[in-house]
């Protein structure tokens, strides 16, 4: 897809999202759409570090949760508007990504993964004991009604999440096609050889961790307005960590379309499943699908598709 088509498509998607509240009367569309878009942001953000650079982050829940609680804090402290909450969350998420990366990425990738696993516990423990943001009993956030264009809060946060999704995908796509993407691919393949080709591997890894952390946090920031009640268990849910990993792996990690496909598929299946089956079984299904893909199709659906085209061409 050329740049011109991509920009055209991005503007069209944003325009549709802006017009939708005046055309679509069914509120469920925005309610479910918000989750789908949140998944797109999470999958895309995770893939910048996990897919392009090959550093697996098990702690997406910590980043999303920090985004949720940055928004709660800014709302409680300053009655900050949604866009300020998003910026604040991005800033805190970026700092956390940078700090986590600096502590662990200098050594082997596996330490980063282990570190991120522990991070969720550390951050959620802090929140559980912090009264100002509601501690363990949770926080109620009564969002003010939107003042213009949007009729209600849900369609407003839906649009905010749509902006974040388009922005995340645009950033991921730009990284993938630029010198940064080539550098990250070189790191994923062989760190020493990348260094000898002039790639500042640590700096680049930290950059990827920072961008990934910032975007993951913005996926959480609109959640308090959306749900109007948040509690630590939901904000730091293991679901985020598992889904963040599963979506790019199902879709394919080498290309920005992979995480988007994975996110839309998973959120679609989840929406269908939550109506019919309990959520524990839902988690089980995601786990099994993930194992299946890792074992049978490590390059995801995109990998399967390119294999299929290569196969038919050979016939």
């Amino acid at each position: 897809m050329s740049n011109r088509y991509f920009i055209g498509a991005a503007i069209a998607v944003l325009a549709l999202g802006a017009v939708a509240p005046h055309v679509v009367s069914n509120g469920y569309v925005f309610y479910a759409g918000f989750i789908a878009l949140q998944y797109v942001v999470i999958a895309t953000a995770w893939n910048i570090l996990g897919g392009y650079a090959g550093f697996v982050n098990f702690g997406s829940g910590a980043f999303v949760g920090v985004g949720v609680y940055s928004a709660v804090f800014l709302f409680n402290a300053l009655h900050a508007p949604l866009w300020t909450q998003l910026l604040g969350a991005a800033f805190v998420g970026a700092l956390m990504g940078l700090g986590m990366g600096y502590l662990t990425l200098r050594i082997q990738g596996v330490y980063f993964s282990i570190g991120t696993l522990a991070l969720t516990t550390v951050v959620s423990t802090v929140i559980v004991n912090w009264g100002f943001v509601g501690a363990a009993r949770g926080a109620t956030v009564m969002a003010p009604a939107p003042t213009f264009w949007f009729h209600d809060v849900v369609s407003y946060v839906f649009f905010a999440m749509l902006v974040m999704a388009v922005l995340s995908v645009a950033i991921a796509r730009w990284i993938e096609r630029s010198w940064i993407g080539r550098g990250l691919a070189a790191i994923r393949a062989d760190g020493d050889a990348a260094e000898c080709a002039g790639v500042p591997t640590l700096k680049l890894k930290l950059l990827a961790a920072t961008i990934s952390g910032a975007l993951l946090a913005t996926a959480g920031a609109p959640y308090p307005y959306y749900a109007s009640y948040v509690e630590p268990d939901a904000a730091f849910s293991i679901n985020y960590a598992l889904n963040a990993l599963a979506m790019p792996l199902i879709g394919g990690t080498r290309n920005w379309t992979g995480p988007v496909i994975g996110a839309l598929l998973l959120s679609g299946v989840e929406q269908a499943a939550t109506v019919t089956i309990p959520s524990e079984i839902n988690l089980l299904i995601v786990g099994l699908v993930l194992i299946g893909f890792v074992a049978l199709a490590p390059d995801g659906l995109l990998g399967l598709a390119s294999q299929a085209t290569a196969w038919t061409r050979r016939r």
Binding site: R182, G183, A185, R188, A189, D192, E195, G198
Partner: protein, 237 residues
Amino acid sequence: MSETILAVRDLSKRFGPVTAVNGVTLEVARGEKLGIIGPNGSGKTTLINCVTGVLRPDRGAVIFEGRNISGLPAYRRARLGIARSFQIPRPFVGISVLENVRVPLDYVNRPHHDGKRAYELLLLVGLQGRADHPAESLTHLELRKLELARALAAAPRLLIADEVMAGLAESEIDELLETLFALSDGGVTIIMIEHIMHAIMRFSRRLVCMETGRVIADGPPQDVGKDPEVRRVYFGK
């Protein structure tokens, strides 16, 4: 003799109980064609790893163009003009052959370049037909060519070719030697590590032989080839 481009001073590197490089001192003049030979495990590659920054030596210094670079990370040394190929090819899998060559162009050479220069380099090593293929689809031989193209992309002033000829046919060795001679004529200093004796004898104007981490002979190729110590190491007597 012209100015020194690379000086290695009393360099040592240990791996546990094994001393891979043991107090090596070596000077390389600008524009020189230096060959390094020695049996497997004699410390050639470890020496190169210390020069390029992949490994940190336990002792000693590496001076490049008059500057002590011992403390610099590998990517900074690459940017100063030291490029290498790896003994066992280490392609950037997951991206295309052309993109592999674009990495050093991006990071060493110019931040702003188009794909053209990368394509020229593929043409130089004869990989133009594989430009859009993923790096992991190349044959062993093509991977060696890719290693060289990637090293050349950095437009180095010092090129270290670590066994680039292994496994190549005679005609390909000739081709590769021609490329290296042309580079040398262009002013690039070249250090060649090689087991293929006739190639290294033809290429180098000076030969160094290493054994158990030490330099045991250093001089014109013919003399080093006749050195009794070198013959003992290579042929057992």
